[in-house]
Symmetry: C2
Subunit: 439 residues, 2 copies
């Protein structure tokens, strides 16, 4: 699938000076252009026609041949960009064949699921993606309104009084759109919306309803702020435990927001979180009271930082199964180090021989909770079922921190052993009977 | 896809008395009929037409409506079965529509890959599967020989002098085969091979070469013995370590062969292996010398029995991801019990405090070897790469047995810790760079 990305406009409401291309405006570690290209790439688009205009040289130099994104990009300069974005679609004409192609606005941002669903629906062009969730549309006045007639567009226009949806700026066209664009442009209407309205008048424009999710027309600083919020709000994972959800994630998202521009990869953050945990384990091994307090707090800090690697990767569209594996294996070693540190610190003070069997059971329990889940997914049984005892990593580390600060190492290890082996045994009984896809 | 299974013949070379239907002859826990149906089911066939004749009532009572195999079976009695197996194909006519259907011999057994590959090739009927690996065909004299003409059958016949392949008894037909069968039957030639020869004469019969693998026409006790050997030889897994391959597997296969008929499921065998390991760990906890020897031997026996569950499941076409998961989780607990037992047994004698950290590291190392692999597959990165230190379960348990018998518990635990953590750390460095599909 090929996509034409419109990146010719000035964007004067966002960058009144027009000093730098709007499309290269940064948003949480990536430019607008990065986001639209990488989102489309995730949906399976591999070839792009990038239509430039205002500050075209800057945009073209940034995009190059697309290898920075691992896709193929052809840049086309639209000298007539001030005539409206319809002229930019026309400028792409020599670079698309008769097969269906997408038209995307370079300054729109949307949940990747939108494009994936649209392409999966395999509709015949012309199609416009519309959002019927009118109550959550910001800036409804500025939006291009759409009246639906079944699955067709009945009417479209900014001034429409009676409407059911708004146009999301995502189109599926084929070569038949160009004659219409030529007509409307020749009639002095250079905006794509004029051609879209002409298609709607002929009752030939299919309206495709997007799922209930976020998308933004990044036209003003306020919309950019809203988009940033939406991206950050969606950084959590559905398998997050309660401690991760309500304590760690809110903090780690604030950190990720600040550090996403730093020249550190997600794997660097995994290593950093691991280092903090190992440092914490050394403090724990020193023993109470200061060692236990500092060690416990560092353990919890490591648990919070453990969210940053994945968040940075997702914000940059750079999440990978290998990165997730690397982080997970480091986490197991961090768990081992922390519990071993706690046991050594306590042993130095009390010499209590019960600490050792408690440590063996606590550390193997932690690993079994992770193993049962990883092996389940490795067997192709789908995402591991949710629910159960508070024995996942977020809960275990919080318990360890509290136990260390309260100087109750043996009780802490026994509690961790009971919770984690209890959960592993629960899974051994329940999961073989679990139904697929109940996550 | 629908399959017609020919199950009408007497099979007098295998059962000279004709006292029980040949098709219900047992072979490693399943009857011939079970095997042909379950093999086809694995390739995606869900509807079967079973043509019975000799001892038809017995076969029909056994097959029922197919629910015993989770498929749909329609039984058709061919009263004229003594007229040749072509008449059995004709008897199935009212139960197949014009779509392509398979014809399988109820007394042939073949590697499931054969049917999967044939159906994946999506050829137009009529097709006959042929084997060109003539040097490994047993009983070549009795086989139906095929001379190839490109991808067509040039000539076919038992007495053919100049031939390139033999007919495997697997056909893909559609409704157009019936008129040919009627012709040849009317001409007094009731065997399917006569119709096949007629199709070949018209140069319209496609020959599809099967991959290099095993298949058997279970005509004589000797062929049944050969088929049994082939099934047993293929029970190993490609991820088996060296100890599994050369020590455990040869023994476990002999056990599986004997117990496959017992009314125990694969999960029962997983639990039995686990119980033997736990019993071994109790003996180990008693301490040297008798406890260590008995415990060590029981550990190795458990390791051998650990192969039986999967072998029994595979022999019965009953292997499942859930069963594999259940076995894997029990194995981790058996590992924990055995190493804990060894450490307790040694501790009771020596009181050496180094035993505890050695135990912690040995037991976590064992889990990390399993975890890194499970998590890798869970991340969708494909089968985990092979190679590395001898730290998989088969090697670890052998080391534990030898160490226990030599009464060297601390050295054993330290060696296990070094090998397993060494392997886990090797993976942490090497695997993120591993290429996909290099297993």
């Amino acid at each position: 699938m090929r996509a034409v990305v419109l990146a010719a406009g000035w964007g004067q409401r966002l960058r009144p000076g027009g000093d730098r291309a709007k499309i290269l405006h940064p948003l949480l570690g990536l430019t607008f252009l990065d986001r639209v290209i990488l989102t489309a790439k995730e949906a399976g688009v591999t070839e792009f026609v990038l239509v430039t205009g205002h500050l075209g040289e800057e945009v073209e130099a940034y995009a190059g041949d697309g290898s920075r994104w691992g896709v193929q990009v052809t840049c086309v300069r639209n000298e007539a960009w001030e005539g409206g974005n319809g002229t930019s679609v026309l400028a792409a004409r020599p670079h698309v064949d008769n097969a269906p192609f997408l038209v995307l606005m370079g300054d729109h941002m949307f949940d990747p699921v939108v494009l994936r669903s649209l392409l999966a629906a395999r509709l015949d062009p012309p199609v416009v993606a519309v959002d019927t969730h009118l109550d959550v549309i910001p800036d409804l006045e500025e939006a291009m309104k759409v009246r639906l007639d079944g699955d067709r567009v009945g009417a479209i226009g900014r001034e429409l009084a009676d409407f059911d949806a708004v146009d999301c700026g995502i189109f599926l066209f084929d070569g038949s759109v160009f004659p219409v664009l030529e007509e409307t442009t020749a009639a002095g209407q250079g905006e794509l919306s004029a051609a879209v309205a002409a298609l709607a008048e002929r009752a030939s424009l299919r309206a495709w309803r997007i799922p209930a999710t976020w998308w933004f027309d990044l036209d003003t600083p306020e919309m950019v702020a809203r988009a940033e919020k939406a991206l950050l709000r969606n950084l959590g994972k559905k398998e997050d435990g309660p401690v991760a959800r309500f304590l760690n994630r809110p903090v780690s998202v604030r950190i990720s927001r600040r550090v996403v521009n730093w020249p550190l990869t997600a794997n660097h953050w995994s290593l950093l979180s691991f280092s903090v945990a190992v440092t914490g384990s050394l403090f724990l091994a020193v023993g109470p009271l200061v060692g236990f307090i500092v060690g416990g707090l560092l353990a919890q800090l490591a648990s919070i930082l453990d969210g940053v690697d994945g968040e940075v990767a997702r914000l940059r569209h750079a999440a990978s199964p290998r990165g997730g594996w690397f982080d997970a294996v480091l986490d197991r070693y961090a768990d081992l180090a922390l519990m071993l540190g706690l046991a050594i610190g306590a042993w130095r003070v009390s010499g209590d021989p019960l600490l050792w069997p408690a440590l063996v059971l606590a550390v193997t329990g932690a690993m079994m909770v992770s193993y049962t889940s990883a092996r389940y997914e490795g067997a192709g049984l789908g995402p591991s079922p949710v629910g159960g005892l508070p024995a996942k990593r977020d809960s275990r580390i919080l318990i360890l921190m509290v136990g260390a600060i309260l100087v109750a190492p043996l009780v802490t290890l026994v509690l961790l052993a009971i919770l984690s082996h209890g959960e592993a045994l629960r899974r051994l009984v329940v999961w073989p009977r679990a139904q697929r896809g109940n996550s």
